[in-house]
Symmetry: C2
Subunit: 319 residues, 2 copies
């Protein structure tokens, strides 16, 4: 990026190509990313950040697309960041889902972007809040972060959204949705998609029972369980209302501010961790030498780690 300030200015005026370039810079952690972060941080904070996750096959893309349509009817500007599972999941099948979003591709008030982690450990943890900040500062009213709920990294990406929507579907088998309990832990709103299918009512009852077993403090938001059908649109208006209600309630209770602070904490920690891992990578040859001594039995892995830390300047703390 030859002139980050100029690109930021254009993006703030609504230029989509500039917005896309800012996100790329954040994603690639180019030097411009710091300038962008510095300029946009004071401008962000008014968008409603909605995280959407669930097992493969529950209908995340269809639901997101349907929600986008409803938000647009209300005159809201919507950005969608679709996280594709990180390498080694090249995930062609999942990228194919993006095609369904094409109905919105000619709408200038809808911004859609796929992001991948490119194999960086925790890369998404730092890039996603950065991308959210860009879109938030550029004036989108709703920023959706959508990811498949099948791994810790993937779920961590959405857990600090302002509102986390968990999608389920009846009849998929517990084995596929084995992470149901884990997903419920982070959900603010639960929607059972394909609610016209057999077992949908039972699935909703079961989910309500699981949620009502969760201990809550007085005044805490209890995640509602809604039945929807993204395909025919039933239940979607209620879902849109419920997502907005969650934001209002948590803004009033202070939970929204706490969630945003947690998101910023995770982002800052991830950026610090990346800088640290960059230092380790820069000492890759030294790491290799130490590792060879470990496999040769001359050095134990802890001693090797301490040696490496001392050499990059992080002294061992006294216990």
């Amino acid at each position: 990026m030859t002139d980050p300030e100029e690109t930021v200015a254009r993006a703030l005026q609504g230029d989509r190509r500039s917005q896309a370039r800012l996100i790329s810079a954040v994603e690639e952690r180019s030097e411009a990313a710091e300038i962008i972060g510095r300029q946009l941080a004071p401008l962000a904070g008014s968008a409603h950040i909605v995280g959407i996750t669930g097992a493969p096959g529950v209908g995340k893309s269809t639901t997101t697309s349907a929600l986008v349509g409803h938000w647009r009817e209300r005159g809201l500007r919507v950005a969608v960041v679709a996280i594709d599972p990180s390498s080694p999941f090249t995930g062609g099948a999942l990228l194919g889902d993006r095609v369904r979003m094409t109905e919105h591709s000619t709408d200038r008030n809808v911004f859609i972007r796929s992001m991948a982690a490119r194999g960086q450990l925790g890369g998404l943890s730092a890039a996603t809040p950065g991308a959210i900040r860009v879109l938030d500062a550029c004036g989108f009213d709703i920023v959706v972060v959508e990811t498949v709920g099948v791994g810790q990294n993937e779920v961590d990406v959405v857990r600090f959204a302002d509102t986390v929507l968990i999608l389920m579907a009846p009849g998929m088998g517990d084995r596929i949705q084995a992470n149901k309990a884990g997903l419920l832990e982070i959900g603010d709103v639960i929607a059972v998609n394909k609610s016209d299918r057999p077992g949908a009512a039972a699935a909703q009852r079961e989910l309500r029972a699981m949620i009502s077993a969760k201990p809550l403090a007085a005044g805490d938001w209890r995640p509602p369980v809604l039945g929807i059908s993204a395909a025919d649109g039933s239940g979607l208006p209620e879902l849109v209302e419920t997502l907005a209600e969650h934001q209002e309630v948590t803004a009033a209770s202070g939970h929204l501010a706490a969630r945003r602070a947690a998101r910023a904490s995770a982002e800052v920690a991830s950026l610090a961790e990346e800088a640290f891992m960059g230092r380790i990578s820069a000492n890759g040859e030294r790491l290799k030498t130490l590792a060879t001594q470990v496999t040769g039995g001359q050095l134990d892995p802890y001693a090797a780690a301490h040696t490496l830390l001392a050499e990059i300047g992080l002294e061992r703390e006294n216990r």
Copy 2:
């Protein structure tokens, strides 16, 4: 652990409870872990480390259990480390699979252990090589690391095994096995389980075509695709032979040593990263203050990260 040296000595004599305690110490990163690492590093290196992964429902536990039976028939001592998906995946359904392994629970030459990451970022990346080292040093001939192939963290745990076995099953749909291409990238041996089912032959043909498209250097191992049925045992003897053959071929070519060095590198880097993240956690209040300044728009996340790094002693490098 009151006396790590004593526990190590007992574990090396074959005491299973002591072996289990060593793994717990490694898993919990207790202070004894360093003593254990130091004492066992010179003794490890003779076991064959076999990683097994695949999508949920392909029959990982059944296959592992069948393989254990075959190895035992050959007089080999076998340890299995079953990685249960890390929090937020409390994974009751997956833990239930462990029950199938009970047929080996009375065999003194079979050691079975479940491990979970307990929510630590990359926690398994450091704990798994440590657990492998304990079992390797204690004289197990085969150490299996089994994990569900549904997230980057989970797959990273097995990718540096000496031999990586990828399990597939016909008729599960591309959506569920969306990570097929990613899994194939790390596979040394591919087995299509449930090979009596319709579509098994087609699945094998498709996988062979995918693998033959992979560019290989002269003398490189080309992953074979086998049909098996863990339930009725067909194909299992061939699979056992193929796994052993992979180890022989890669030991001769030098690829095995390279894989082990890569495993040790990943372990040392993970331990260093953990130490770093521990330092960040110890400064949790400071991180919180900085994060609040970020959400308030007074500070950008990069500046916050640099401040934090400087405060824990890691100075910014000159560019």
